[in-house]
């Protein structure tokens, strides 16, 4: 498993779809409202509170507890990345972030845009929130705290992984499941359906 350190540079062009990596550095959590806040801030001509160039945006709304004035992350698995498909490219272009981490993959169009920007999309196992939290050394900061779980949490991680490279900078995507098998199974069911529907009809007269 290759280890990557953030902020990243051109070395991420060597990552290949389907391979496994682990990440050491800072995860900047960003989901629906965080993306929106980033874009709204920039649209108003204001600066972001943090420099995201070469950094990793993590699609995650962590479960966080405050203990004695310090934040403790209890569970921080990824959320569905494709909900943000319309915005990935704009956010990456405007912030200079180079890595997206989430789950479930992103749509074809968004994947192309991400690759064209020289960025990489990585996935972590959905639902594995306690496991993800075990890689967090500490919370380095939080911006837009009023957004709660959708605030931008800076999570310092060590060896966070295994992350699967799902989209690399060449635009290759991890095949995942073979779509033709899916279509074949569905075709069989549909064929059966016509037959049995007519059977049902006959019986109903």
């Amino acid at each position: 498993m290759r280890e990557i350190f953030t902020p990243v540079g051109e070395e991420i062009r060597k990552l290949r779809a389907g391979s496994l990596v682990s990440l050491t550095g800072i995860l900047f959590t960003a989901r629906d409202r965080t993306y929106q806040r980033i874009l709204d801030t920039l649209k108003r001509g204001e600066k972001l509170p943090v420099d995201l160039r070469g950094q990793a945006l993590y699609h995650c709304g962590p479960l966080v507890r405050k203990v004695g004035g310090e934040y403790q992350v209890l569970s921080c698995g990824p959320t569905t990345s494709s909900r943000l498909d319309d915005l990935h490219a704009e956010v990456l272009r405007k912030t200079g972030a180079r890595l997206l981490i989430g789950k479930g993959g992103i749509g074809r169009q968004a994947a192309r845009e991400v690759a064209e920007l020289g960025c990489v999309y990585l996935s972590f196992t959905g639902g594995a929130g306690a496991l993800a939290a075990s890689f967090v050394k500490r919370v380095r900061g939080v911006y837009w705290e009023e957004l709660g779980p959708e605030a931008m949490w800076l999570l310092e991680v060590e060896g966070f992984g295994p992350l699967v490279v799902m989209i690399d900078t060449r635009g290759e995507t991890l095949g995942g499941y073979p779509m033709k098998d899916v279509e074949r199974v569905l075709e069989d069911v549909k064929k059966g359906r016509t037959h049995s529907t007519s059977e049902v009809r006959k019986r109903l007269g």
């Binding site: 995650c60 709304g61 929130g129 939290a133 075990s134 709660g148 569905l186 069911v189 359906r193």
Partner: protein, 267 residues
């Protein structure tokens, strides 16, 4: 002990441990798997379960929306306040992520779903916990009467469309028949039934679904569906309501039974 404490305890159990049937099904999926990426995903899931249990933290950061099914309604009325208190306690102590918002303004608003049911003599409460990722794939179909194959197609097309997004391998809860709203409720109650020997129709759907090859987290593999559970009700002769609830692999549930004044909490 106050009853609200027991409610909080039940929520804690559901959030930090999976029922044994679900864990077994995940272990079985791992044993059967050949795809290397899928094996890694399943290993992460199983490791995550041990970590959550050991540290007593929620398995998933999306602690979901809680749905309570309480019966008999006559007793249920009396414990609604305790359930509210229990949810508050659990939200603070476990803690739970504040997940619910006003649907239009987006303002944070605590909320849970509550169903009072008929039947039973002593108090029974079932809790279903469902995250947002899988909830986005809940579907209601109004098929033609008797269209059995249409049900299979409805499930498979939804799974195809959903891919890795509902965090497979999923549990499929199917509500067949009744009215539109009853079918939806049945599909949720189906998810409360432990995975056990499937009936022939459940088995047929499961076998076909696992031929799709979507696999754990949609990265390919043998197990897309951990189990299929079906609940039925008679329906109008002109229609066939079919509701589908996909539950992520973190298929959380817990139950509480009152017997002779004693409370039992289990999964």
């Amino acid at each position: 002990m106050e009853f609200s404490r027991r409610i909080a305890e039940m929520i804690g159990l559901a959030e930090t441990r999976l029922p044994p049937d679900i864990t077994r099904a995940l272990e079985e999926a791992r044993r059967k798997e050949r795809n290397q990426t899928a094996k890694i995903q399943l290993d992460c899931m199983l490791k995550n379960l041990s970590l959550a249990a050991e540290k007593k933290v929620p398995i998933c950061q999306d602690t979901g929306v809680l749905s309570f099914f309480v019966r008999p309604a006559s007793l249920a009325e009396k414990v609604v306040g305790e359930i509210e208190k229990g949810v508050e306690l659990a939200s603070r102590e476990i803690p739970l992520r504040p997940n619910t918002l006003d649907p239009l303004t987006g303002e944070e608003k605590p909320w849970f779903s509550l169903h009072l049911e008929r039947g039973g003599e002593e108090l029974e409460i079932d809790l279903l916990v469902k995250g947002g990722g899988s909830e986005n794939w809940s579907r209601l179909f109004l098929l033609k009467p008797g269209d059995r194959e249409g049900i299979v197609e409805a499930v498979l097309s939804t799974l195809r469309e959903a891919g890795g997004k509902p965090c497979p391998p999923v549990v499929v809860g199917l509500g067949i028949g009744g009215t539109a709203e009853e079918a939806c409720l049945l599909s949720r109650k189906a998810l409360l039934r432990p995975l056990g020997p499937p009936d022939p129709f459940e088995r047929e759907i499961m076998e076909k679904a696992n031929k799709l090859g979507i696999g754990p987290m949609g990265l390919g593999g043998r197990t897309t569906v951990l189990g299929v559970r079906i609940l039925k009700a008679p329906c109008h002769r002109a229609t066939l309501p079919v509701a589908l609830s996909l539950q992520c692999w973190v298929a959380r549930r817990a139950s509480l039974r009152m017997k002779g004044g004693k409370v039992r909490i289990f999964q």
